[in-house]
Amino acid sequence: MEKFFFEDDNNRVTGKAVVTGKAKYAAEHEVEGVVYGVLVGSTIAKGSIIAIDTKAATKAPGVMKVITHENSYKVPGYDYGGNPAKGLTGGKGLQVFNGNTIYFAGQPIALVIADSYERAVYAASLIKAQYNQDVHATDFAEMGKSVIAVEGQRYKDNIRGEADAYKNAAVKLEAEYIVPNEVHNPMELHAVIAKWGADDKLTVWEKTQGVKSAQRSIAAAFKLKEDDVQVFAPFVGGGFGSALRTWPHSIAAVIGAKMVKKPLKLVLTREQMFQLVGYRPYTKQRIGIGADKDGKFIGITHEADGVTSMYEEFTEGTVNVSKILYQCQNVTTRYKLYPLNLSTPTWMRGPGEATGCFALECAIDELSYLLNIDPLELRLKNYAETDPERNRPYSSKFLKEAYQLGADKIGWKDRDPRPASMKQGEWQVGYGMSTGLFNAGRGNAKASAKLYADGTLIVQTAVSDSGPGTQTSMTMIAADMMGLPVNKVTFEYGDSSLPPGPTQGGSTTTSTLGSAVYGVCFALQNKIIDILKTDGTFNKTDLKVEDVSFTDGGVLLKSDPAKKRTYSDILSKAKLNQLEVSDDSKASEQMRNYSAYSYSVHFVKVLVHSKTGVIKFDKIVATADAGKIISPKTARSQMIGGVVGGIGMALMEEAVIDNRFGKYINNNFADYHVPVQADVPEIEVAFVNKPDPILNPIGAKGMGEIALIGFAAAVSNAVYHATGKRVRDLPITLDKIM
């Protein structure tokens, strides 16, 4: 443990597989006899199917089957013949091919299966559906008017202290902020290959952020024993939340494979990625914030109206940020959910908090100008030293340090604080900043480790990695614990039959799994100590882990470093080919008395063209208190990646619906803009890099979400500083500045 903290910069362990094209993503596994499925979507947004004409498609060359609600295999875990109007379920997704009700445009109405991809695509184009069309609701402007909020306990108002206390403050601000529908759009199209084997055993290659959760969902749908479903996801081409759930298309593929008795591959199109795998929901927020003349917050009221589908509730912690980010006695939050004829949204990088921080962090900036106090100073004046919501200490909080790091790097104190005061030629110059936070959690996980007589180590757990570099950081933890070079350690993952690991989401993977890998290596160390106690090596029957160092592929006695034994020596002397241990890792009891959050601070310097309104980044600095940084190289990349996602959120991303038809009109990469090379300047990253002493044994918090959370507010604040124009609805496009 003594040299646990990494100073060296290691490359990703997946590097060679990726750059040579050998890494296999979901649709790329070679499965003998695979056939192709193509989904056909509804062309209306609400109504019911009267009839589907599948004749032409069925007759087309190579077609093996066309599946619709009329002939689908009945999924045992589905509830057939239920009342489609019975209300929203909490977390039960769309049941594919169950009934003829249409809830949203693009909802799968048929699966065409053929022996080649081209034939399946062609045959799918021959499907004709006849609908009874109803009047759909997709217009956000109708929320609270013709579209009524869902009733229910989960949406109760929450009042801490006095309700709406901001109204009585000396200085106050009320403003409305809008975050539009944004779509994750990972580069890998969602894809699945399903193969039924003998005895109803099922193998699924799935794009998923959780091989165990996918296994459980599929087993539940088909009423199989979990062990009879094996899910593989060795490489996942991005997720950002879209691959946290098992979506209807995956169930459709399993149905299809069952019905044609052949392995079936199904890949969504980019358009379908807008309809079938979730999105960040449009949310309209109102903030009321008030302070006394010195800038002390008197009250915050945060209200949010979010969107969900017609068949399922999706809620997120949008308003929670106002309860926890700053010290403020009186906080009122109200959250309403409006069902529309869209598919169910899902968690998208920094879910809830990213939306909530956009509003709160803009509002604080606005308030700072009313108070005539520097925005950073205003935040420091209201710094929470203990968790204001739960009234307990933080396991660690180094947000002040993160502010300082960022402020120094961007040159915050050199700016002229007056709006529209700074210029560079034709460009107006603006500085903006924001804070982001996300819960730092630790869940349960199990890992196993095998140390071999040749001095190699295999660590196993059922996790998948959609990009952050979990394989790399886990390999590094194991290598460091056991004193082995990284190339002697293999981290095996991406297979649901391995010991249960966590889903990669909510910024908890490193904390949860890193602790499990740490734990299993610690167990292995103890097992080695047990052998050394009795084999006479060190003549010490009371030998303890603390007495030795695990280093250079073996063990050395601290009191007498000349006494060193390699793992090979130890195992061969004990006549063992391998040592195997496993460990169940759980959150510590101690954490019950603490709160844990990761924090990010974003500083940006923007240039806004005075004639055209074009926005360019001159400098971006992202700093974070994410606890101990396990793998510096991949951590920096993850932070940069979050900022790039934030640039998209701030300046370009919006999935636009044509309300006449209830359909997206920019459902492709030419029209839904995401940042490309030319949009992204050099991004400077700095970590506080101090371990959290309580959350887990490795000291890491989490980083995936905070990398993005708050960034859009920093941009909006900088644009205001540059131009004096406040843009409260994302994305900040030129027309809103001109």
């Binding site: 990703r12 750059v19 094209g21 062609y122 580069m187 991005g238 980019r270 990349s637 090379q677």
Partner: protein, 209 residues
């Protein structure tokens, strides 16, 4: 026409892909023998499709010669991925909007999702699988590893193929120029900074790549 009839007649698949594939079929019909055209007009076009589905072509991929019988509507990307199991070239959009499918055709970067395989007769194609010389990585591949030029890795083969071409084209003289000439390759993980660093390093080191 009633509302429902109109919906019935709506083509649910007026995607660009559908259009591409259907127009290829239409071109083929124009060149097809009368009997097939007749069959097509009689609404038997699915049967008709069977007559002209396959065409023979010869091409070279990663220095291996292939003689293939393929459907005219097959894209180069789908040929590589689905028939030849060369899955290094990625499908990110299928519409020429993301760069994930970038390969080299006769040394030039090309979007394989926008190229029909039948148009590659006699061409030399290099995919990411053909870039390394045996176990020796191409300098651009090594630079991507060293600079952590990716996260999930899905856009990476396309980025690397584009990056190699970008240097060969003489468009890697400054980070700013690289940003412009690499803007056709989307990386949703946002590895852009590191990709620029990798390309600039390869360019700086010189040598033929």
């Amino acid at each position: 026409m009633s509302h429902n009839e109109k919906l019935l007649n709506d083509d649910c698949h007026n995607s660009r892909r559908g259009f591409l594939k259907k127009s290829v079929a239409a071109t083929a019909i124009a060149l097809a023998p009368n009997v097939i055209v007749k069959a097509a007009e009689d609404g038997l076009d699915e049967k008709a499709a069977g007559y002209f589905e396959k065409t023979n072509i010869k091409l070279t991929i990663n220095d291996i010669d292939y003689s293939l019988s393929i459907e005219p509507r097959t894209t180069l990307l789908d040929l590589l991925r689905e028939q030849l199991h060369l899955t290094g070239s990625k499908k990110g959009c299928d519409y020429g909007q993301c760069g994930a499918c970038t390969v080299h055709v006769d040394g030039k970067r090309v979007l394989s999702c926008l190229s029909l395989a039948v148009m590659q007769e006699g061409k030399h194609i290099t995919t990411i699988e053909g870039l390394a010389k045996g176990d020796d990585l191409h300098p651009m591949q090594q630079a991507f590893i060293d600079h952590d030029g990716f996260q999930c890795g899905y856009c990476t083969p396309g980025q690397i193929m584009s990056a190699v071409a970008c240097v060969r084209e003489g468009h890697a003289n400054s980070p700013e120029e690289v940003r412009q000439y690499m803007s056709g390759n989307i990386c949703r993980c946002g590895a852009y900074n590191n990709i620029v660093d990798a390309i600039i390093e390869v360019k700086r080191k010189g040598g033929t790549i």
